[in-house]
């Protein structure tokens, strides 16, 4: 009986793929596992999107989306999140280039843009509740606050995670497990932007027209 080790079959520097050349690298496995989580999160949002699509016509005599939504605000929010996604990607790039100094700059930009997004969203919510268009007003508004609020909660969690990861880079340096966590953070942040594309199209553009 002969035992053939994986190292004999394929050298380590060959990209394996489909298990052919031995186990995939840790980075690929970690990213895959996190990708599965992100997809389950997107399915959660699919449920909320479905609820909104079903309830969006039920204004119960209260204000409708056309009266409530300001497309200019939604556009600014969209741009904040989009550019923050870009700076998060550049942050990961500077980690790969072993440039923690650049990473701090991009992490700061990402945080500022994410916080600006969150600030605009919260002031929008506060304004709606002040006008008497709170989540208890109608089925439409319940679905709106649940969908957009859940996305906002995810952004808040992402901002906290970003602060935590920046502290880890500062304290621990660019170790491989810190880099993997940063990769997961960037995947999370990009996935939030994908969900936001659905939100601004379905809620703001279709409802606020």
């Amino acid at each position: 009986m002969s035992v053939v080790s994986l190292a004999d079959v394929a050298p380590h520097h060959v990209a394996p793929g489909r298990g052919g050349g031995g186990p995939a690298s840790t980075r690929i496995v970690v990213a895959y596992g996190f990708w599965i989580f992100l997809l389950s999160d997107i399915i959660l949002f699919a449920g909320l999107f479905a609820a909104y699509a079903v309830l969006s016509g039920n204004a119960a005599g209260g204000p409708t989306g056309r009266e409530l939504f300001d497309l200019r605000t939604a556009f600014i929010e969209t741009m904040c999140l989009l550019v923050s996604s870009y700076t998060a990607g550049l942050g990961i790039l500077s980690i790969e280039k072993q440039r923690p100094d650049l990473f701090y700059v991009f992490a700061g930009l990402t945080f500022l843009l994410g916080a600006a997004f969150l600030f605009i969203e919260i002031s929008e919510f506060a304004g709606m509740i002040r006008e008497g268009a709170g989540p208890s007003k109608s089925g439409f508004l319940s679905a709106f606050f649940t969908l957009v609020g859940t996305h906002g909660a995810h952004v808040t969690a992402g901002l906290l995670w970003l602060v935590y990861m920046t502290a880890q880079v500062f304290v621990k340096g660019l170790r491989s497990h810190v880099r993997q966590r940063l990769l997961c953070f960037s995947l999370f942040w990009h996935a939030l932007d994908i969900v936001w594309v659905g939100v601004f199209t379905l809620v703001y553009l279709m409802g606020g027209r």
Partner: protein
């Protein structure tokens, strides 16, 4: 093996190499440009009165899917390489579930609304 590599040797998980690039600056910048263009197009389509009204939601949905595609390729680096096969299969399954949940809900609730007995209130 340079000095930097030796420095990081002790805190590396097995299987991870130092020089595995995922993307470059150009990929992210191209993604940003495409996404910004698609976003501006979406908002322009929604705000215009030049287009035929009932067609606008269809156009918005197409633009949204295009932008999601841009995000997947340029930001999440979904590719056709062998390392991406599992990611793509998982994505396809996730999209199937999302499609079933959203269209199924809309379809069933529209049916219920149609078949609802008229209440004598109004």
């Amino acid at each position: 093996m340079d000095g930097d590599d030796i420095l990081h040797l002790h805190d590396r998980t097995p299987g991870v190499r130092h020089d595995e690039p995922t993307a470059d600056f150009l990929t992210y910048t191209a993604g940003l440009v495409f996404a910004v263009v698609l976003t501006i197009m979406s908002f322009a389509v929604a705000g215009t009165s030049l287009l035929w009204g009932p067609g606008i939601p269809v156009g918005l949905i197409v633009l949204a899917f295009a932008q999601i595609g841009v995000h997947l390729v340029f930001f999440l680096h979904m590719g056709t390489g062998p390392d991406h096969t599992n990611n793509i299969i998982a994505l396809a399954f996730g999209m199937l579930i999302c499609f079933l949940v959203i269209t199924g809900s809309i379809w069933i609730m529209a049916n219920l609304n149609n078949n609802m007995m008229q209440m004598p209130m109004r």
